[in-house]
């Protein structure tokens, strides 16, 4: 009896694995026709669908006006009512943190130190520790850790996304 239950469970898991492989195969084979350029293929409710796919580095061109749950759904409903798509958005420049390899380098030295601690290689422990700490100090010593994306660039990226969405919606016969 127990082996029957276990066997049925194993078969269920196997079916799950097969479906996952099928999904991957179908997704890869039909990737051109299924590719989403709007970021909102399912007419979503929450904010992760409100930006492009893949999202721009700044995620949101303007800070979303959140009023309650299902924020993006409410924003779309309001836009339909007020025809807000025609009104001009006030784009502002966006401050972004500069890219930095600090996390990777620190993790490298920390891993080295962990390895050395396990195997009692004391010189390597010290080397790993100094490396990680030095990386941290170098990162903390930077004078310029941000850059600004100008408002025109934000507007260009956001308008491109809005147009993609409009094309997609009209191609699907409107919403």
């Amino acid at each position: 009896m127990a082996s029957l239950v276990a066997g049925a469970g194993a078969i269920l898991i196997m079916i799950g694995i097969i479906f996952q492989i099928v999904q991957l195969a179908v997704s890869i084979r039909r990737r051109e026709e299924l590719r989403d350029r709007t970021g909102d293929p399912w007419d979503g409710r929450s904010l992760e669908w409100a930006t492009a796919s893949p999202p721009p580095v700044f995620n949101f061109a303007v800070l979303p006006d959140v009023r309650g749950e299902n924020a993006y759904w409410a924003m779309k409903a309001r836009a339909k009512k007020a025809d807000a798509e025609k009104s001009e958005t006030d784009y502002q420049p966006i401050e972004m943190p500069r890219n930095s390899p600090t996390g990777f380098v620190c993790a490298f030295f920390a891993t080295l130190m962990g390895f050395a601690l396990i195997w009692h290689i004391w010189w390597m422990v010290i080397a790993g520790f100094i490396g990680a700490f030095a990386t941290f100090v170098v990162f903390a010593w930077r004078d310029h850790d941000e850059y600004e994306i100008p408002a025109e660039e934000v507007a260009r990226i956001d308008r491109a996304n809005i147009n993609q969405r409009r094309d997609m919606v009209s191609a699907a016969g409107g919403r």
Binding site: L63, V66, R67, E69, V137, A140, W141, D143, D145
Partner: protein, 213 residues
């Protein structure tokens, strides 16, 4: 449910205690940074909770080795506690000095905090070395494993805190009270005070209860 309704009814940013800000909008970087650091501290508290739980379960399993009441020296622990509580006070003074942009008193208060932290570490290290020397090291019993893990983890945090403290002193010396450096000082102060709270729990659960048992 009532929480969500109250949340939806008002400006959600008021949840962060920004009722005095007139316009709604994103919270300031100082608020966001402090909030993020609190989340890190909470994760740290979760880790310490696990070590506390392990210690509570294992504190009786001495495997024929010494019990807590035989190895704890409450006089030492009282001095350690005094050092750490005083260092929290001087850390608070450093925060005030940073708020009024007084470099001199910031450096003095941070230096005193550092010395008190080092004194704490010195006493703790001497206690650990003494225990290992009399064959009461972490491999002696489950009780001592849990003891060294919990207390040692706190000690490691204090060591890291002192390195951070020295880095902040050097940063203020070299660059002054820049906005990003002030945010780091805020986070350091949160870290240092949180370590103090954890020590109060270590002091009570490990040393006071352990000495009574």
């Amino acid at each position: 449910m009532s929480v969500t309704m109250a949340y939806g009814a008002r400006d959600p940013h008021q949840v962060l205690g920004l009722d005095d800000v007139e316009h709604s909008g994103p919270a300031s970087k100082r608020i966001v940074t402090g909030f993020g650091f609190w989340i890190f501290l909470l994760s740290d508290m979760v880790m310490f909770s696990c070590f506390f739980a392990a210690f509570a379960v294992l504190s009786g399993n001495t495997a024929g080795g010494p019990r807590g009441s035989e190895i704890f020296d409450l006089r030492n622990v009282a001095i350690e506690t005094g050092c750490l509580l005083m260092s929290s006070f001087t850390c608070g003074m450093a925060s005030i000095a940073a708020d009024v942009r007084n470099r001199f008193w910031f450096q003095v208060a941070m230096a005193v905090t550092c010395v008190l932290g080092l004194a704490f570490l010195f006493i703790e290290f001497r206690e650990f070395a003494g225990l290992v020397a009399r064959d009461a090291g972490p491999s002696r019993s489950a009780f001592l494993s849990a003891f060294f893990t919990l207390v040692g983890c706190h000690g490691l945090h204090v060591s890291a805190g002192i390195l951070w403290l020295l880095t902040m002193m050097a940063q203020v010396f070299a660059k002054g009270f820049r906005a990003d450096i002030l945010r780091r000082i805020l986070c350091f102060a949160l870290f240092w005070h949180a370590l103090d709270i954890i020590w109060v729990a270590v002091f009570s659960v490990v040393y006071l209860l352990g000495s009574a048992a």
